[in-house]
């Protein structure tokens, strides 16, 4: 929204020493976001109104014209690239020495005489953005020059003088006004300025409408329109507005249309309430119906487009036979003011904000009117705006007169209080003591009516703040704080017990995992999107039915929530294998399982969200490593070491759809399965475009966090020597290492450690067998082992292995 500084000043008598930039700075600090302040007329030296006498084709360039331009005192030749330049057009000419912004961008550049494609050019015919007027004269395309023909300017006049550009325009960010229905017009902003600068706000005076005898009937559903006022005027003649009105609208970027439409826009810009003027012929029986749209109803609006309306939701203004206007959003094509209109009906109404919002969003019609109505405007604006509009119409259209009484159909109840607010409540919210007089001044100036009580005030909320914005003591504290100034509050630290905060076990584990993987095992942590593509799911034989789906995915090719942390990691593996021989990556994040149970949707609701535990995914591949499984398993061993988790690897009951079934295990901690480790199945690897062997593991850290042993115990070093003997045995290939170790450990209590140091499968032994070699460490806590004792234990071990696994010593 654009605001005219001069317009604001009509309502607040600001000192001359106050500048528009100061006002903008104060508004930014206490009220709204002011995006920029444009000083109109600034840098318009030597920018002159000119009349194009002729615009002829350039001999050497298709897109340029050679123009002779009348500048009053002289005629100059200017080469112009404007797409719309024609003879007799009034244009803005930057003369030699003027400063312009090329194509509206970059720094100001001073013009000198130039030759363009061999033709002399003494200046430039400007686009609005090139002379800082882009906001008030928006161009339709980049090459369009500013057309001033409809203004009655004399060639040779300085443009700033001609346009009366002694104003400054503030651009307000609309979003920052979303909770302030009172600030959508100049008067509301002026009120804020008056409070911030300690000046009086001028009372908004209107002239009482000189009502006629006849009557306009209004039938309005109060749920749709809490207030609907209308009045009919006659002897209206549609013509261009006088220049004072045009200039005022132009200053804030609104195009003049005709005297009646311009008046309604003027009142909206001043008070924030959008008005609508109908051609009175639209209501042949002088009856206005405000109703919800009916089934299948369509309407053609001012923009020339036809819209289908939603039954029971959109509000329309209708006569007996048809809908004329999408209420509060956009007028109808036929029902508005036409060139031959002589009688009009002025509507000053208040519509249900949420309905306006839904309609305008659905139809994509984010009009000035809709933006305002959806913010919950004060219904008490209606009579003020109507009176102002009638007054101005009479002014711009002499002879026009009101022929009906003012119809006012209303049903609303604003929660204006009073609410009781203790000064100490304000102090305690702010954390500082604000002078009571200043509190009272701020609130009174903002329009709150105060009654002092013993410990505070009873506050009556002004209607323009009561629609939804202000209602409780905290709101009052905010009013005081923002005007008094956030910067005036001295920072302080709250007082709290020094009891240490509760620690989150999973978070702690996550950090141990990161440290272990990144710092010890040399894996790199990635963070990837939570969305996966059906294409990749297919490549991994994952059923999309096991995934939750986004209703409105941002990337159409990634509509699913990740069912596993591995999916996107495998994509990342593939892309990085183009650059690295070894890719060792991991991610820790939530995955979404529609079949699992997560937290409750509400405190006591039986409905549960899907489970979304935090999982660790590890992916590893290295050129030349034919058994990457063990690299991943080793990384897990380091994690186990760091975290105290004891992982067990068990032949899986169910093999993952993309796992190599001969190279996969379920990972257990105690009796609980916490994850899976596997080599990527060669077929899936091929589908993914991964040409080297890759392995991965996925572990549920939420489950693991609860399974950790809290304390690990120290074991004394025995004072008696330990003895290590090597033993290589040949066993069938399907005999598992873990079982061999368990068997050896269980043979005799003197065995303290068993460590695998070699595995061999190949030509030298039976194809169905493998050779495994172990360092076996023996020792006793109370004596040094004798040779015989050692030999004895080794024989016992060998016997156990023979009996259990048909093992034989490798010679």
């Amino acid at each position: 929204m654009l605001l005219s500084y001069k317009w604001i000043k009509e309502f607040v008598d600001l000192a001359d020493s106050v500048t528009p930039d100061e006002v903008a700075a104060r508004l930014k600090a206490s009220t709204v976001e002011v995006e920029k302040v444009t000083h109109l007329g600034e840098n318009l030296n030597k920018i002159t109104v000119g009349r194009v006498i002729s615009a002829d084709a350039h001999p050497n360039a298709d897109k340029l014209k050679v123009c002779q331009v009348d500048l009053g005192r002289e005629t100059v030749q200017i080469v112009c690239g404007g797409s719309n330049v024609v003879a007799n057009m009034l244009v803005a000419v930057a003369e030699i020495g003027a400063r312009v912004r090329w194509h509206g961008e970059g720094e100001l550049v001073e013009l000198g005489p130039v030759k363009l494609r061999g033709v002399d050019s003494a200046g430039m015919i400007c686009a609005s953005s090139e002379i800082g007027l882009g906001d008030i004269f928006p161009a339709h395309d980049e090459k369009e020059i500013l057309d001033l023909t409809k203004h009655d300017f004399k060639p040779g006049v300085n443009l700033a003088e001609a346009l009366v550009l002694d104003d400054a325009v503030m651009e307000i960010e609309n979003k920052s006004l979303s909770n302030r229905p009172d600030l959508w017009g100049h008067y509301g902003i002026a009120r804020e300025v008056s409070v911030l600068f300690h000046r009086d706000l001028k009372k908004y005076e209107t002239i009482k409408i000189n009502e006629g005898k006849s009557k306009i009937k209004v039938s309005a559903d109060a749920a749709l329109a809490p207030r609907y006022m209308a009045v009919k005027m006659r002897n209206v003649s549609i013509s261009p507005s006088p220049s004072w009105l045009v200039n005022k609208l132009n200053a804030v970027g609104v195009n003049a249309v005709n005297n009646i439409v311009d008046v309604t826009n003027f009142v909206m810009l001043e008070l924030g309430l959008p008005l609508h003027a109908f051609d009175a012929r639209s209501f042949p029986k002088d009856k206005i119906i405000v109703r919800a749209a009916e089934s299948g109803e369509k309407i053609k609006t001012l923009d020339g487009k036809e819209y289908g309306l939603k039954e029971g939701e959109d509000i329309v203004i209708a006569n007996d036979s048809e809908a004329l206007c999408v209420a509060g959003v956009m007028g109808g094509e036929k029902s508005g003011v036409q060139s031959d209109t002589t009688e009009i009906v002025i509507e000053s109404a208040n519509f249900a904000p949420s309905s306006i919002r839904r309609t305008s969003t659905r139809l994509g019609l984010r009009t000035d009117a809709a933006m305002r109505f959806e913010k919950s405007l004060d219904p008490n604006l209606c009579p003020i705006a109507l009176a102002r509009a009638v007054e101005l119409i009479v002014k711009v259209c002499p002879g026009a007169e009101v022929v009906t009484s003012v119809t006012d159909v209303k049903k609303f109840n604003l929660p204006v209080g009073p609410i009781s607010v203790d000064y100490t409540k304000i102090d305690s919210v702010i954390g500082a003591v604000v002078d009571r007089k200043e509190i009272n001044r701020i609130l009174t100036a903002l329009g709150f009516e105060l009654k002092e009580k013993k410990t505070g005030v009873s506050v009556k909320i002004p209607t323009w703040r009561a629609t939804k914005d202000v209602g409780i003591a905290e709101d009052i504290a905010e009013e005081v704080l923002r005007i008094w100034g956030y910067a005036n509050v001295a920072p302080a630290m709250p007082k709290f017990s020094i009891t240490p905060p509760e620690q989150d076990a999973r978070r702690h584990l996550v950090w141990q995992v990161r440290d272990s993987l990144s710092l010890i095992s040399q894996f790199s942590e990635l963070k990837l999107y939570s969305f996966v593509s059906p294409d990749t799911l297919k490549k991994l034989n994952i059923n999309p039915a096991d995934c939750l789906t986004l209703d409105n995915p941002i990337a159409k090719d990634r509509p699913f929530l990740r069912p596993s942390i591995i999916v996107n990691l495998l994509e990342a593996l593939e892309s990085n294998l183009h650059r690295y021989d070894r890719v060792a990556i991991y991610e820790i994040g939530r995955v979404f399982d529609p079949n699992g149970s997560g937290p409750r949707t509400e405190k006591n609701s039986p409905e549960l969200l899907p489970s979304q535990n935090v999982k660790l995914g590890i992916v590893y591949s290295a050129k030349g490593n034919e058994q990457p499984y063990f690299a991943v398993k080793e990384a897990l061993r380091q994690i186990a070491n760091e975290s105290g988790l004891e992982f067990k690897f068990v032949k899986p009951k169910n093999v993952l759809s993309y796992a190599h079934s001969g190279r996969t295990a379920e990972i257990f901690v105690g009796a609980e399965c916490v994850g899976v480790i596997a080599e990527l199945h060669p077929a899936n690897a091929k589908a993914m475009g991964i040409s080297v062997r890759a392995s991965f593991a996925e572990i549920d850290l939420d489950i693991c966090a609860n399974l950790r042993k809290s304390v690990r115990k120290y074991i004394d070093i025995s004072e008696f020597p330990q003895v290590t003997r090597d033993m290589a045995i040949i066993v069938p290939r399907n005999v598992q290492h873990a079982d061999i170790v368990a068997a050896i450990m269980n043979t005799n209590s003197l065995v303290t450690r068993v460590k695998l140091f070699d595995v061999y499968e190949g030509e030298k032994i039976d194809v169905k067998k493998k050779s495994v070699a172990y360092h076996i460490t023996l020792g006793a806590g109370d004596h040094t082992l004798g040779t015989e004792e050692i030999e004895n234990v080794l024989q016992m071990i060998l016997k156990t292995l023979r009996d259990k696994f048909t093992a034989e010593l490798r010679s």
């Binding site: 702010i430 954390g431 500082a432 509050v489 969200l609």
Partner: protein, 343 residues
């Protein structure tokens, strides 16, 4: 005999001067000390022929001479060794600037994780609980519980991802979705932060990501005020940026706070003078904050008559971008290892 001894010592002193290598020194040692043929050993053998008293006297003299001679040899040896080491230092000198050949790159911890650790450290040192909540959240906790009822215009401010078949499930649009969960779990007084992933259905560009991390903070107690919010925010930003930062507050509407503010940091890149990063304003927006709306406290089971508090929500990526000079928000979720591994 004594003369003989003196001469031997003198001879040794002379001869040793010309010895420069360990090898020559060993030869010289042999000449004097060898059991079989050493000059000194010969004298020792003579002792046997002497009488008891004489033996006593001469034995002592001989022994003193031996100690002295060993000292002479010893000092010669250490000076030879010293000069040897000096030589070694020259011949074995290495290029101390060269790296270990084929050193393994360490793994990396993601930059968002690193900053999260820093944030957690600062806040836990101030007694804050680190809390977490679901990323796929109920409409209730994400919106209604934080004072954004159905059809509230504020729902438009955050483009929300919805889940097919579950109209009341959303991907959380902010970590504020955990406010009421935390209040319900811990009650008041409470100090809590929630770092976590959020989602908004917005087109991704250098400044926006549809998937991003937020840091939520919340303090509720009997008399927790706006002044306390300013204190805590300034403290943690100063710790994170490792410099005394200047913070500015401006009015901003969020339905779940009252009063609500925007939090801006003085641009330390240009010291507030105005630069490209701060869009020439001298200030950088890093998040929103405010005093928790009584409706939110009530949803959390907290009596707003006896409690008040503040909450804030900051973009973690924003903090990282400022701290490390990263200009593109899309960096964070990239899978390209070149960004993480230095070569």
């Amino acid at each position: 005999m004594q003369d003989k001894i003196k001469k031997i010592i003198d001879d040794l002193r002379v001869e040793i001067k010309s010895v420069v290598s360990e090898e020559a020194l060993v030869n010289l040692e042999q000449k004097y000390f060898s059991r079989k043929s050493g000059v000194l050993s010969d004298l020792m053998k003579n002792l046997a022929t002497l009488g008891v008293e004489e033996k006593k006297v001469m034995g002592k003299i001989l022994n003193d001479a031996k100690v002295l001679m060993e000292e002479i040899v010893g000092s010669a040896r250490s000076s030879i060794e010293k000069s040897n080491f000096e030589e070694i230092a020259k011949t074995e000198a290495i290029d101390i600037t060269a790296p270990q050949i084929s050193a393994k790159d360490p793994g990396t911890i993601h930059i968002l994780s690193r900053i999260e650790r820093d944030l957690e450290k600062v806040f836990t040192s101030m007694g804050f609980i680190v809390f977490d909540g679901p990323e796929l959240e109920s409409d209730y906790y994400n919106f209604t519980a934080v004072n954004i009822p159905p059809h509230h215009p504020a729902r438009d401010m955050q483009d929300t991802f919805y889940i097919t078949g579950h109209p009341n499930w959303v991907l959380r649009t902010h970590t504020s979705s955990t406010q009421v969960r935390a209040l319900q779990k811990y009650g008041a007084p409470i100090r809590v932060i929630v770092p976590g992933r959020c989602f908004r259905n917005e087109a991704t560009d250098a400044r926006h990501e549809h998937t991003f991390d937020q840091l939520e903070g919340m303090v509720v107690g009997h008399d927790v005020s706006f002044a306390h919010m300013k204190g805590v925010i300034k403290e943690f930003l100063s710790k994170i940026f490792n410099t005394e930062v200047e913070v500015r507050y401006r009015p901003k509407f969020y339905p779940f706070v009252e009063p609500g503010v925007n939090v801006e940091l003085s641009c330390f890149l240009c010291a507030g003078k105005g630069c490209r990063v701060c869009k020439k304003t001298g200030w950088l927006e890093i998040g929103g904050a405010g005093m928790i709306h009584p409706n939110v406290l009530r949803e959390g089971g907290i009596d707003p008559e006896n409690n008040q508090g503040f909450a804030f929500g900051f973009g973690i990526a924003r903090i990282v971008m400022l701290r490390y000079g990263i200009s593109d928000a899309r960096y964070f979720l990239s899978s390209d290892l070149r960004q993480y591994i230095s070569e």
